[in-house]
């Protein structure tokens, strides 16, 4: 295999702001290049990206190629694919393309890899070098196992899980240069009709000191009641859930914690019947103290917990509440039979 040396980082931005994923990508690319920025270039695509390009070059200390796509207001898979393919083809020594493992990178990176015949490794959250070969780590089987992947192709496309590789805030770097170029593109078959704003109301979960979260182990809607009752044990608490629980309609989507939901950092996070897939875990890593309850001793959630309890939540939580009543009930915690309104 030819030893190629160039790393291209595809910046992520939305609504005129640099997304934090971009800094994670920079941190990853630096690690991949032994801390040296010489062989790295950051590509920024879009309309009106002057200020974004300067900000990225300034903070990263890495050269930026600002690719002006006049009229491209947001993200477009069609434009990203055609423009990136054309720009990167010029780079004869292209070894790595680093894209964010978010709604943009997950959308265009595999197609870009297919176009280049390049290996594609998704959701990279670890990297190590052994005998001159890079091994890229990623979660498989819901995070129960990590896989060590190697690439056999001269160019490799990677999507990098956010929140894993962090740019050192103390890092001193002289700003990188900005090269400006114009890209012609045509939007043929995909028409962007705008963004429908969701979110906003997050049912007080972001402010809660204690978050009691339910996963698929809940089993059925009727069992949500014990989650609400457990939450009532704690002052300033809120009930949240995984994507699956919200998909089932057991909780509204504004209570979903994870990559496609909210990110929370309460003092205590109680994970009830949650398997612990990375999509969920990314949303609660900042919690102060984590208790996980799950029937599966090997649930990935236990790797993210301070206290692990192998029990069925549907029997364990009622028992816990009963014992609490007996042993701690000086201030008479009211039982809430059927008049629970915290479900939102």
């Amino acid at each position: 295999m030819v030893n190629k040396t160039h790393t291209a980082v595809i910046a992520a931005h939305a609504d005129g702001r640099v997304l934090s994923e971009t800094w994670d990508l920079v941190a990853f690319a630096l690690q991949l290049n032994g801390g040296r920025p010489e062989n790295i270039e950051i590509l920024v695509l879009g309309d009106n990206i002057d200020r974004l390009a300067e900000e990225i070059a300034g903070k990263s200390g890495i050269d930026v190629r600002a690719i002006f796509c006049t009229g491209l207001t947001g993200y477009s898979s069609e434009v990203y694919l055609s423009v990136l393919a054309r720009e990167l083809e010029k780079q004869a020594d292209l070894a790595y393309v680093c894209a964010p493992h978010n709604s943009q990178g997950m959308d265009y990176a595999p197609a870009l890899a297919a176009r280049f015949g390049a290996a594609c490794i998704s959701g990279v959250n670890g990297i190590f070098l052994e005998e001159g070969t890079f091994f890229f780590q990623k979660d498989i089987y819901g995070g129960k196992i990590k896989a060590n992947m190697v690439s056999h192709t001269a160019t490799t496309v990677l999507t990098i899980q956010s929140g894993v590789f962090k740019l050192d805030p103390e890092r001193q770097a002289s700003p990188g240069g900005v090269v400006r170029t114009d890209a012609r593109f045509a939007i043929d078959r995909t028409r962007f009709l705008g963004v429908r704003k969701g979110g906003g109301d997050c049912a007080g979960i972001a402010e809660a000191r204690v978050v009691v979260a339910a996963g698929r182990g809940i089993g059925e809607l009727e069992n949500m009641e014990i989650i609400h009752r457990l939450a009532e044990l704690f002052p300033k608490s809120a009930v949240a859930g995984t994507r699956i629980v919200c998909d089932q309609g057991w909780l509204p989507y504004n209570r979903q914690v994870g990559v496609t939901g909210m990110t929370v950092a309460p003092d205590l996070y109680v994970a009830c019947g949650i398997s612990g897939a990375s999509q969920h875990v990314m949303g609660m890593r900042g919690a102060g103290f984590v208790v996980a309850i799950n029937t599966d001793r090997q649930a990935a959630m236990f790797n993210e917990a301070d206290i692990c309890i192998v029990e069925d939540i549907t029997t364990f939580i009622p028992l816990l509440l009963e014992i609490y009543q007996q042993q701690y009930n000086d201030n008479a915690v009211p039982q809430a039979p059927g008049n629970d309104t915290s479900g939102g």
């Binding site: 939305a14 993200y75 898979s77 709604s103 997950m106 959308d107 595999p110 197609a111 890899a113 297919a114 176009r115 015949g117 290996a119 594609c120 998704s122 959701g123 091994f135 089987y141 995070g143 129960k144 196992i145 990590k146 896989a147 060590n148 992947m149 190697v150 056999h152 043929d188 995909t190 962007f192 009709l193 705008g194 963004v195 429908r196 979110g199 044990l233 704690f234 994507r243 998909d247 496609t260 003092d267 398997s275 897939a277 890593r285 103290f289 208790v291 990935a300 236990f302 790797n303 993210e304 917990a305 206290i307 692990c308 309890i309 029990e311 364990f316 816990l320 014992i323 042993q327 701690y328």
Partner: protein, 275 residues
């Protein structure tokens, strides 16, 4: 209107037993319980709903994998898909998404599918690559993480006359795809297109007995993956697996259920998290 749904047969992650060998390598125990990838159930359901809402729709479901993968086709046909296609591979070797996607694109070539549906990702390998790669190999537009899908008619310049067959009138698909912050991107995409659907787009049904009986009698088209010219080599490999390191203390509380509950309450009390 012809729809192709790609579905994968995966080990049930909930029942996966992992042993840790010397040096932290993960050894996967008996993989006896397999099922249809949950993400793909939503893709099958979406196709069947389109079929039910309009006449003249044929739903083909395709899987890539070893012999037992056929079960996933029977289940999809039980849910209402018309035909099953099995792109067979031998053994349990690492299956690269690129090789799988190339095989699917090869099969779909010249079959005039209007819509190709996949799930957002597989539960086992968690990549989400096959959909966009099939689109790339087939030269089709693509959208991933799609949470709402509506077929729309009209708008194509070369269509002048009204067509009485509703399904052949569809020229585009309106989709909403999930992006960060609970927001949705709204797109209109010309057909044919590849759409990877997100969980929650619908409620997948259970297979019906009558459909399952029909599926059991029906022949499944079986073709070796990549056909005779299987030259595409996996561009990457899964070399080894490890048990993930603990990110926190991970202290297991042991004893009877009551003892565990007492200990947990004590810990929470000591940390001033409960009164």
């Amino acid at each position: 209107m012809k729809i192709l749904v790609c579905a994968k047969f995966v080990p049930d992650t909930d029942h996966l037993i992992i042993k840790e060998s010397e040096g932290g390598k993960a050894v996967i125990g008996d993989l006896s319980e397999y099922r249809m990838n949950r993400f793909d159930e939503f893709a099958v359901e979406e196709a069947v709903r389109i079929k039910e809402q309009s006449g003249g729709v044929i739903v083909d479901v395709l899987t890539v994998g070893p012999e037992p993968s056929k079960d996933v086709l029977r289940r999809a046909m039980g849910m209402g898909a018309d035909n099953g296609i099995h792109l067979a591979v031998r053994g349990e070797q690492y299956l690269s998404p690129m090789v799988v996607a190339a095989g699917i694109a090869d099969y779909a070539r010249e079959k005039d599918y209007n819509l190709i549906l996949t799930g957002a990702m597989s539960e086992d390998m968690m990549n989400g690559q096959v959909g966009p790669m099939v689109a790339s190999f087939s030269g089709l537009p693509c959208a991933t993480q799609v949470i709402l899908l509506r077929l729309s008619s009209g708008r194509r310049n070369d269509q002048s006359e009204e067509n009485p067959d509703a399904s052949s009138d569809w020229v585009a698909v309106y989709v909403e795809r999930e992006i960060e912050g609970g927001n949705r991107e709204m797109l209109e995409i010309d057909l044919p297109a590849v759409i990877a659907v997100q969980t929650g787009i619908n409620e997948p049904r259970y297979p019906s007995l009558s459909n399952l009986l029909r599926a059991n009698k029906q022949e499944i088209e079986t073709i070796a993956l990549g056909g005779d010219n299987s030259v595409l080599k996996a561009p990457e490999d899964l070399v080894s697996t490890i048990v993930p390191p603990k990110m926190r203390a991970g202290r297991h509380v042991e004893g009877s259920a009551a003892e565990k509950a007492e200990q947990l309450l004590l810990i929470l009390h000591d940390k001033a998290l409960i009164k």
